[in-house]
């Protein structure tokens, strides 16, 4: 064992390297935001550190309302997504695990699951734009009603998007975050032997749904806490979805920051930085609040867990089914609407279908599409490969050297997901310029790695740690070296989680907008940067083209990740 240990000593380097790669830019970025926030930015005339900027910031008329809106929409969206994801996971697992349960809609639930998972591949912006067209007063739904029943010649005065409370913003976020959390829950279930506990619960007389809530939920929640936190931090700081679906007077804080950054008056950049620090504070505060609320809920419901009430499950099944159906239909209609737009020349109100169909939008962008698609692929694949190498090395290090990441250093890996992007990317840019790295492919990949690596780690860590320790031990006794064990035992056994992690990492890379802009220095255009710049022009037809492709790539990756192991291991029942 001692010799083996020495032979894997080099692994610890990878752990250090990974931490450095993630923490360096964040530290630099935070400093880069802190200085201007406290008034220091000599290039635009700030030479002293003080808190005047914050004093001025707090006097901004839009600020209090905007902060309230940000917190409300962020927390509500996370809460609703989590509830939906848990309820759907409960239904899916009982459909899967018990044939004789007299649950309604069994078959439909299975179809629903097949439909929901690919939605994680769809970029937020594309989904939001499709949703706007679906539910706007002049949108698709109203057009159907108007066309068939009402005969309105102008759209009704409804406030269905960009409402002052941010409800449509919340809806848009829920549509995207529910599938993500659902996937995370479903991936965590086997680790806690959910199927067996469900059986016990049922044999003790509890309905499957209730068994899930009382037995599985308390066990699975700690495993998905991080994804939930990531969703919360994301919802609080999201820019694109807010721009598209959020209110304008005032907007969420993230949009306010963007407005200040976009303001030609350079002194507004002090506000932007101070706002970014405020957003960081709000995010950390909300995470803390969420943690306390968790504890409170747990205590409150502790008694409920063991009160012995059994009750019926059918209403729950119906409710979950209806809401799941509602989510999935909305998502698919939104995407369908985008697809139709990409094939239309002219589609005015109140036409239910485009007035003129055309392939022009696709033809026009075909050439530039090829180039941007290549860049997107290159960055995505390279980033994912790097992330996989680093993550696997860290996990191997942890197993061979028993050097389990301490809880604290593991949380450091997730910092990029918990700190609002706008807060540190400007500082990263300055640092990059200083080291002559801006606009290089290297920096672009590095900046994507910041966000890809945590997701890959998040997806891969648990399956890796849960792999039966006896496999590597047996292999070792058979004379295999650690590297041989990795390639001939572990990687094949963990092929599926490995590929799923890669697909998720790829989807994350494809969706990056701000990092691509800040690190790429305008030298690289990806499907997402193109889509966002076209979104500024609000031309749904072009947005349709780019949004569709933006969704297609990660979706194909996910499909591949799920079907390759199935095909490779088609004769291995335990692995397929």
């Amino acid at each position: 064992m001692g010799a083996t240990l020495r032979s894997v000593n080099y692994l610890s380097v990878f752990q250090r390297l990974t931490q450095l790669l993630l923490l360096l830019p964040i530290a630099a970025g935070l400093l880069g935001a802190f200085f201007p926030a406290f008034g220091y930015f000599p290039e635009i005339g700030g030479n002293q550190l003080n808190i005047d900027v914050f004093r001025e910031l707090l006097k901004q008329p839009a600020l209090p309302h905007s902060v309230r809106l940000t917190i409300f929409s962020g927390i509500t969206a996370t809460l609703i997504s989590l509830c939906f994801a848990l309820a759907l996971a409960a239904m899916f697992s009982q459909v899967e695990y018990s044939s004789q349960s007299k649950l309604k809609f069994n078959r439909l639930f299975l179809m629903m699951r097949r439909g929901l998972i690919p939605l994680i591949a769809v970029p937020h912006a594309a989904m939001a734009l499709g949703l706007v067209f679906l539910i706007a007063p002049s949108g698709w739904l109203i057009r159907w009603v108007s066309f068939s029943l009402m005969g309105w010649d102008t759209p009704p005065e409804l406030i269905s998007v960009q409402d002052p409370l941010g409800l449509s913003l919340i809806f848009g976020l829920v549509l995207k975050e529910t599938p993500y959390l659902l996937l995370m829950i479903l991936a965590a279930l086997p680790q806690i032997r959910a199927a067996e506990y469900l059986r016990i619960g049922q044999s003790l007389g509890y309905g499957a749904f209730r068994s899930w809530l009382k037995l599985i939920l308390p066990q699975v929640y700690p495993l998905i806490r991080l994804p939930v936190f990531a969703v919360l931090a994301f919802s609080l700081s999201v820019v694109d979805v807010s721009l598209i679906l959020g209110p304008t007077t005032p907007p969420t804080l993230s949009v306010l920051i963007l407005r200040w950054l976009d303001n030609p008056d350079l002194s507004m950049r002090f506000f932007a930085s101070a706002g970014a620090i405020l957003l960081l504070g709000i995010t950390l505060g909300s995470l803390l609040f969420w943690r306390i609320a968790e504890w409170f809920v747990l205590n409150k419901f502790r008694k409920w867990l063991t009160n012995g009430k059994r009750g019926s499950d059918n209403e729950a099944a119906t409710a979950v089914f209806v809401s799941g159906f509602f989510l999935i239909t909305t998502a698919f209609l939104s995407l369908l609407a985008l697809a139709f737009w990409s094939l239309s020349l002219r589609w005015p109100y109140p036409h239910v279908l485009p007035q003129t169909w055309t392939f022009r939008n696709w033809e026009r962008h075909w050439n530039s599409l090829q180039e941007t698609a290549m860049t997107t692929l290159e960055v995505g694949i390279l980033t994912v490969v790097l992330a996989l190498i680093l993550v696997v090395a860290c996990l191997e290090n942890e197993q061979w050297r028993r050097a389990r990441f301490s809880i604290r250093s593991e949380w450091l890996l997730y910092l990029p997901l918990l700190i609002p992007q706008a807060t540190f990317l400007l500082g990263v840019q300055i640092l990059a310029v200083r080291f002559e790295l801006d606009g290089t492919f290297l920096l672009l990949v590095w900046s994507h790695l910041l966000f890809v690596l945590p997701y890959v780690f998040l997806t891969l860590a648990d399956p890796w740690r849960k792999l039966d320790r006896r496999y590597p031990i047996i292999a070792q006794c058979l004379g295999a070296s650690p590297l041989q064990i990795l390639f001939r035992v572990k990687l094949p056994l963990l092929l599926k989680p490995l590929l799923v992690a890669a697909a998720i990492g790829f989807a994350v890379s494809v969706a990056q907008y701000l990092p691509t802009i800040f690190a790429g220095g305008g030298r690289f255009s990806t499907l997402t940067t193109e889509a966002v710049s076209y979104a500024a022009g609000a031309d749904r037809r072009v947005i349709g083209v780019y949004g569709f492709l933006q969704a297609l790539f990660p979706w194909l990756a996910l499909l591949l990740a799920l079907s390759v192991p199935r095909w490779l291991y088609r004769n291995r029942a335990d692995l397929s």
């Binding site: 695990y97 007299k102 049922q202 044999s203 003790l204 037995l215 867990l305 063991t306 012995g308 009430k309």
Partner: protein, 207 residues
């Protein structure tokens, strides 16, 4: 009485065993034996109602003259003990038992019953303990008590003794059987340990 009539399980259009007809009387233990893969565990899953959907099934299951084929698992009133104790790790020992207790039993009475049950399995005063801190034998006893507190009308045993060491095994077996007899439960035991079958003392069916 637990009654199985013409029960067969089919997977990939192959029957796992020839159609079964078994009658298990109250207070009696019937043992099902057979090599690995003969379908013992699948049979129990079928009785519980938790069989994987890939199986096709036929035949009739009735418990005290009540046909339960089409009932969901939670309505069947069949308790089961597995090889693993499967205590709920997020609940304390006492809470594990409380989970099984019917809701109609309230507050103070709940507490009393749980304390009594713990006493019965020689674990009194350990209600607040984390199940992870118990020994294998203690955990097995809690699992048994949890199953019984749900007031089942039949008990299925899926090799529940096989993971215990020899000495514990005999004592736990005795405990299970005596409780089953006391509660007048029909018991179906699946095992491949002849000693279990012998101790059960009832009819033996080989798959």
């Amino acid at each position: 009485m637990l009654k199985l009539e013409n029960i067969s399980l089919i997977i990939n259009s192959k029957a796992l065993f020839t159609a079964l007809n078994i009658e298990v009387h109250a207070g009696q233990v019937t043992t099902v034996m057979g090599p690995s893969g003969s379908g013992k565990s699948s049979l129990l899953a079928h009785l519980c109602g938790t069989l994987a959907p890939v199986f096709q099934t036929s035949g009739k299951i009735s418990l005290h003259d009540r046909v339960i084929n089409n009932l969901p698992p939670e309505a069947r009133k069949i308790g089961i003990l597995f090889q693993d104790d499967l205590l709920f790790p997020h609940l304390s020992v006492g809470e594990n038992l409380a989970f099984a207790l019917p809701a109609i039993i309230k507050h103070r009475e709940r507490k009393n019953i749980i304390e009594q049950a713990l006493q019965e399995i020689e674990l009194s005063g350990m209600s607040e303990r984390d199940p992870a801190g118990l020994s294998g034998g203690q955990r097995a006893r809690v699992a048994l008590m949890r199953t019984l507190l749900a007031e089942p009308q039949a008990l299925l045993l899926d090799e529940p003794f096989s993971k215990l060491d020899l000495e514990l095994r005999g004592r736990f077996r005795e405990l299970v059987f005596s409780h089953a007899e006391k509660n007048n439960l029909p018991v179906l035991l699946v095992t491949h340990d002849p000693a279990d079958a012998k101790a059960a003392g009832g009819p033996i069916i080989t798959l």
